[in-house]
């Protein structure tokens, strides 16, 4: 991508190291964009820094996606950030164990995360600490399970109507 030339993820990582020290990890990718791994309990502080630092100014969260990694028994969240003023992009990743899937919410930093986080909770069961209204968004209230998990089993009936053929 063109915007990478302005500031590569590696440079941003070096820049962030000064403030966050050991917390972050840089993962180079062979295909697609390289990313930075953030621990779930410091996501909000990192997000705030990324948005407000004059050298970074990541003012939009393009996309926030939940992922289930069944081999590692983990859930993950991927953040795609973009800065309209500096024209660079960045990918952040958070990994949490499936037994205790808690990530700090970034709803207060980027408003768009509100619905994205609700969707990740609905479809994958990731809990976002600090989200003001973490309810199901696509499936109805009272739906069983989180459909996008790889081991999801469809419930047989909903309100007395069969979900199968």
């Amino acid at each position: 991508m063109k915007s990478d030339a302005l500031k590569s993820p590696e440079e941003i990582y070096e820049y962030l190291k000064a403030s966050f020290d050991e917390l972050l990890e840089y993962v180079p990718a062979e295909l697609g964009q390289s990313w930075i791994t953030v621990p779930p309990f410091s996501m909000k502080a990192v997000a705030k820094f990324l948005r407000d630092d004059p050298a970074l100014r990541f003012n939009t969260l393009m996309c926030q996606s939940g992922v289930h990694y069944p081999d590692e028994d983990e859930l993950g969240v991927t953040y795609h950030l973009h800065s309209t003023s500096h024209k660079h992009t960045l990918v952040l990743k958070v990994r949490v164990p499936i037994a205790d899937p808690r990530v700090q919410s970034v709803e207060a930093i980027w408003k768009t995360a509100d619905w994205h986080e609700r969707e990740a909770w609905d479809l994958l069961g990731i809990v976002f600490d600090g989200h003001p209204n973490l309810k199901r968004i696509l499936c109805p209230e009272g739906w069983e399970g989180h459909p996008l998990r790889k081991d999801y089993r469809q419930q047989e009936t909903y309100l007395g109507v069969t979900t199968g053929a």
């Binding site: 499936c139 999801y152 309100l159 109507v161 069969t162 979900t163 199968g164």
Partner: protein
């Protein structure tokens, strides 16, 4: 009046069975409920708009189910929507008809296998009179569905025969 212009005198009387007259009137003014669900709704709109023109069959959209004769289920019915469709159907007054438009509302269509949140056919919650196949059906197909429904209405009995047979 077009073809009928100046063809009859004012003293002419047409004799027709009451049932035929009633059914003719009913089938010529099918008001449908303006209610789109998914992709098929766009084709439904195209059928109602300038090119295909529903109006020439007396088919007009109504915004309230209480004023509608026929409900076109145009699109995918999800589990969340199923109970609402049932409610809307109950609000329609008799006689009422349902046209199931497109594969999704016929059987779940492309979402048949993995669609955990998709109802596999609207006939699981409400009775359907005409099924229109296609994904999405062309406007001509929807019109054909209406013609089939008209055929059905023509053959219906609305007049009750007297109990003593007189």
């Amino acid at each position: 009046m077009g073809l009928l212009d100046k063809k009859y005198h004012d003293s002419n009387i047409i004799i027709v069975p009451l049932e035929n007259a009633l059914n003719w009137a009913r089938k010529s003014s099918l008001w449908y409920e303006q209610f789109g669900l998914a992709c098929c709704a766009i084709e439904m709109m195209a059928t109602a708009a300038s090119h295909y023109d529903f109006d020439r069959f007396g088919i007009l959209p109504r915004s309230s189910p209480r004023q509608a004769d026929v409900m076109i289920v145009a699109g995918t019915v999800t589990m969340k929507m199923a109970s609402r469709i049932e409610r809307l159907y109950e609000q329609m007054s008799e006689p009422r008809y349902v046209i199931s438009m497109g594969s999704c509302s016929n059987s779940g269509g492309p979402y048949w296998e993995h669609g955990y949140h998709v109802l596999k056919g609207v006939d699981k919650v409400i009775p359907v009179d005409v099924y229109v196949p296609g994904c999405p059906p062309r406007p001509e197909a929807l019109l054909e569905g209406f013609l089939k429904l008209q055929e059905r209405i023509t053959n219906e009995t609305v007049v009750e025969s007297k109990p003593d047979g007189k």
